[in-house]
Structure formats: structure tokens, C-alpha cells
Point group: C2
Chain length 389, copies 2
Amino acid sequence: MLNFQFYNPARIIFGRGEENNVGKYTAEYGKKVLLHYGEGSIKKTGLYEKVISSLKKYNIEIIELGGVRPNPVLSLVRKGIEICKTESIDFILAVGGGSVIDSAKSIAVGSKINGDIWEYFMDKSKVIKSSLPLGVILTIPATGSESSTSSVITNEENLFKRSIKSTEYIPKFSILNPEITFTLPEYQIACGCSDILSHLMERYFTQVEHVDFTDRLLEAAMKTIIINAPIAVNEKNNYDIMAEIMWVGTLAHNGLLDTGRIGDWASHYIEHELSALYDLTHGAGLAIITPAWMKYVYKENQDKFIQFAHRVFNIDFAYNEKERTIIEMIKYLENWYKTIGLPTKLSEVGITSSNFEKMAEKCLVGRGKAGNFKKLDMEDICNIYNLAL
Amino acid sequence: MLNFQFYNPARIIFGRGEENNVGKYTAEYGKKVLLHYGEGSIKKTGLYEKVISSLKKYNIEIIELGGVRPNPVLSLVRKGIEICKTESIDFILAVGGGSVIDSAKSIAVGSKINGDIWEYFMDKSKVIKSSLPLGVILTIPATGSESSTSSVITNEENLFKRSIKSTEYIPKFSILNPEITFTLPEYQIACGCSDILSHLMERYFTQVEHVDFTDRLLEAAMKTIIINAPIAVNEKNNYDIMAEIMWVGTLAHNGLLDTGRIGDWASHYIEHELSALYDLTHGAGLAIITPAWMKYVYKENQDKFIQFAHRVFNIDFAYNEKERTIIEMIKYLENWYKTIGLPTKLSEVGITSSNFEKMAEKCLVGRGKAGNFKKLDMEDICNIYNLAL
């Protein structure tokens, strides 16, 4: 186990009806709020009305900025920063999924600096020192952004998709009511569950030894997603199932499961290039890339893959059948993605090999190599894209 | 799953050598520190010197208050409060195990009120509104007090052992270096592991349904303790083993594993009367009381006990052998306590039935009934003491 620090002061407010208390929680931090949201689904579901009503009850002044789309873009972040500065906003309330929250986080940081926010994405030596306080009402369990230290933004000018990290903008509160997810399309639930499972697998596949407790916590979380996701896409409005998924989604990415270990993250990086270029949903891209990554890297540490096959998928072939166990596990995983309605091949979403080299090259800009379980160069990444065809 | 709030802003600083940085972390919060510790073991191990040296490096003024003993007492808490008030202490540094930290927490609260601190223990309607900031160097993985909301104190005048709860005094930082535990006697490690396992079991045995994710997290933690404790008492100075135990100990009691559920806590309450009256080590008392509690209550929800037997102890008898599975699991648990050198019967520690009624009566003062899995009255508690003979 490696030395670590763990600090996550997000206040999680979980359960039925809690969105109606958002005004009370917001009033603890601010009086003039930037209400940040997506492309209007919160207006169709009635959530918008509830939020406005609760904020008004506490005499909170509201400036709105909607329009965040999946794979949130730099231009809207810049617009948000401009509004926060000119309107002297003192709190940002993000109502939406990971894209909205990520966009809000970058606005929160950008509002406190003089230079260009994008520099913090491309230059890791630049340290984030402060942020506007932020609150969240989560509408999609997926990215874990509701209590995470990261914000992922796409620069539309050059299609670079990059992230920043800081504890400064961890939300002061995040309201998680599983009922709010009832209106989500099955495909979005599936993509969210794929993203959550990926956050767990990225952390699980480490070369750091003596991390058995966090291994087991990760296995607990992965099993919960694997069992509940297929039910969630088939049984709409099942509170208990969505509650399990939603709480896993948050803990999967709040830093707890990173403690003492170094995750891999190559699948995320390789996928980011796909969703930046093709505007594919991140969770669907991960369903395609992850099995290919596994096929390419498993020989780097077979024990870890066998433990995963055994403990998470309950595959207990004869113990000398190491390779067969791993190959079988990858089939189980692919079948799980199919069960929840996700693609597992690039060809299924109409992506050909034409941009593989370009994407692999971009994936490595500012990084040297990608991933930690096996450090991948450009050729490796192209090989993984090819395995995913 | 029940609605819940989860908030734990403790900064965990985990790993080799971190105690040498305590001055740096302390300086973020205070200039004049009450250094609170136990009966002097930190002077024998050299930890005291390291702490003083690091604090002096940052020009921090130090007032010392040692002498905390297992089952920390109210009189020393009152003395600490007096010192904090007269010396204008602005930070408390607790160097020790759960007793020292619990004592420090009560001092931290008492320093901010005018009345008597004990009123907060006996009258749950009194709300803790502020606290001096607190830091910790943990020397014994056991109580989880290093990031928990509770403080347990014994009033020597009437031998009441009671607790307060608040997020106000959650430590600003807790330094956890497994190397610091290398000097602990095996018996203390065993008692610590018993306490940790009990914190997990108390939460596990709930009647709240649809808490599968937290069930699995608890199982992950319990398995880690069950596997590692027997190694820890046999292999002194094994960093990796103690690191697993230490991190489980903190997460077992930081609130995370309470989310969405209501724990039982009867075994803790029933044990508290034992350790208050006989000055038995809490972890040893739990090894005696817990199996007796299980035998007495398992019929209230056999499924939960079978899941525990199956997932935690890997007992997979034929599925219609429900009762046999549970009885066998309790034997496994008793054997585990024996393996780590703990008693499992009151007779082993020389306790007879003479005070059972008196203890049962005291256990219920201010509570009505004890526990939630099965709500226990005085007769039930006496029956459990008798089963533990």
C-alpha cells in the first residue's frame, strides 16, 4: 500500500424529496446563484420548477445558464465565467449529470483566475488555488462528478478532451434523489452504469500490491453495479435499484477507492478521443474500449485478472486454467454490456480505422504514455483500437 | 434504503513517516496546543520526541495533559477543559488510541460551553454547536475515533459509560502510520481488531432492507479484518497487514457504512456495562458478548445471518439447513476470537452472574430498550449475559 491522503468534504444529501430543500442548503453559501443546467430536460421533468421555487423561498437571486451538452465544451465554460465575473455570482448550482457538474466546476475555478481556464487543462504544473462554492442536484448516476475532484471539458476548437483535478471545487453539497432518475431513457442509464463500472475497473487494475481491502471494496461496488444495472434498464422507476446504483456511482469516484493505489485510466483516455471526435456517449465508448484493453494487457498481471474473474464474476475454473479464465471473464463482461444494450465493437457504431493513428497521437499529447497497468505508446493504442473494431 | 446525509471532512494522512509532519499540519489550525496522551507509552516508543520536535519546528506552544487510561474518565476531561479555558488553547492534538481521542473530543466540546460537559452525555436533547479544532496521531487501530463523530466517556462517580455524537469535532487531520503500531502488545492488537469487527457487525445486522451495496462494503471490510487479524498477532512489524487493518478501522466507523441503514449497537451497549464495571478491555468484552447476542437474536431475521455466514465465512451448507448454518457460523466466529487470543466466555475472565441485573438496568437508563435488530428489554439483556457465562 502506498502512502496517501484522503479528504472529501462533500456533504451527500441522499433520498426522496431532497431536491425540494435545495434553497435551504444553497442559502448557507450564497445569495446570488448561477443556475447551470443542460439542454432543457429538467424543464420537461418538473425539476426546474421545484428548484426555482425552493431557491425563491430563500430569496436567492438566480442567473441561469443552460445549454450544457454531453461532452461539455470550453466555449460555454468561458461564457459561464464571464457571467460569474460580471454578475458577482457567489454560488453555482449545477442541476444535471456529469457534464453539467464538470462544466460548473470549470466555471467555478475560472471565475477566480485572471488568465485562461484552458491553460489549467493543458499545463499540469498550474495549481488550482480557489473556486466559487458549488452545489449539485444530480440527475444521472454516472460520472461521480457530484463529489469528485475532476472536471473533464472538450475544447471544440481543436477537439482536445482534457481534465483538471482539485479538492477546491468538491461540491459543498450534492443532492441525490433516485426518483429524479426515473425519467432517464434506458440507454442513458446503461451508459451511466458502464461509466461507473469503468471508474471501478480503472482503479482495480493496479500494479500496486498489498491493497486487498480496497480491492474488496472495489469488488463490492462492481458486483453491485453488475447485478443492478440490467434490472435498472428493465424495471423503470425501481427506487431501491436506482438507489444502489446512485450511491455506488458517487463512491466510485470520490477518492476513497484510490487510497493507497495507482489506477490505470488508459481505457478512459483512449475512449475520450473517440467521444471527442465522434460525439459518442462516453459510457458506450467504454463498453467498446475496455474489453479490447483487457485483451491487450492481461498478460502484464494475470493474478489480478483471475482475482477479478473469480471474485466479481464468480468464474471458478480449475486454477491452472489461468488464460481460459481470463478470456472467459472478458466474454462475461462483453455479454453484460450487451445485456444492458450497449455496443461492444466500433463497427456497431459505424466507426472505422480511418482515424486510429490521429486519435492515438492526440491521446498521448502532454502524457508521454497512457495508463499504468501497462504503459501504452502510440502503437499499443492503435492495437487496442484495432482489437475494438 | 433510508434517506441519509453523509459528511466527513476528516483529512486522513496515511503512511510511513507522516508523524514527523505533525507540526506542519497543526500549524494550519493553531499556535497553542493541548498535547493529550495516555499513560506514557508514547514516551517509551520515541513517538513523543518526534511529536515535540515537529511541533517546535513550527513554533507551536505546547501544554501537555497525559494520563488518559483505557475507558477514559470524566474527571480528566474536566481537567482538560479547565486547562483549555485558562490557557486559551486553540488546538488539541491527541496522540494515542481511541481513549485519548475520545477524551480529546470531549475536552474540545467542553472548552466551548459554559455548563457541565456530562449533561451532553446524559441528555440527548442537548446539541453540540461548536468545538475546538482537533488533530490526531493514531497509535492503535480500534475505535475508529480518528474520524468518527462519537466520544465515549466513563463517569467514575457512578460508573456510567456514555457517548456523545457530533460532526463538529471530527478531527481536522488524522495521521495513520502503521509502523507506529509495531510496539503494541498482541493482546491490544487483538482487542482492536475485535472492536473493528464489532463496529462492522453492529452496522451489518440491520432490519432495513435494500441496502445491498453497503452490505457488500461491510462484508469486504469484515473479511479483511478476519483474514488479517490472526496474521497481525503472529507476525509483528508486518507493515502491509497492519496497513489493511488500520484503514479498515477508520472506515468502519466514519459514517460511510451507516449510510441508508440503522445499525444495532446492542452488543456495544451491553459490553459497555461490563467494561465500565470490571475495567475489562472493550474488544475482549465484545468477543464475549457478540456470540451470545447472536445466539439470542438470530431468529429475528435468519436471512441476514445466513448471508453473513455465506459471504463472510464462506459457509455454504445446503440451503435448507438454515439454522445449522447460523449455529456453525457462530462457532467460526468464536474460534476466530480464540485464534487471536481473546476470551469468549465471562467465566474465562472471572465474571460471575452477580451483577447481571444491575448492569442490565444501567444499560437501559436513558434508552428504554437497547438495540434495533431486536429491541432488548432488561430480561433480554440478562438472558444474553447468561448465554455469555
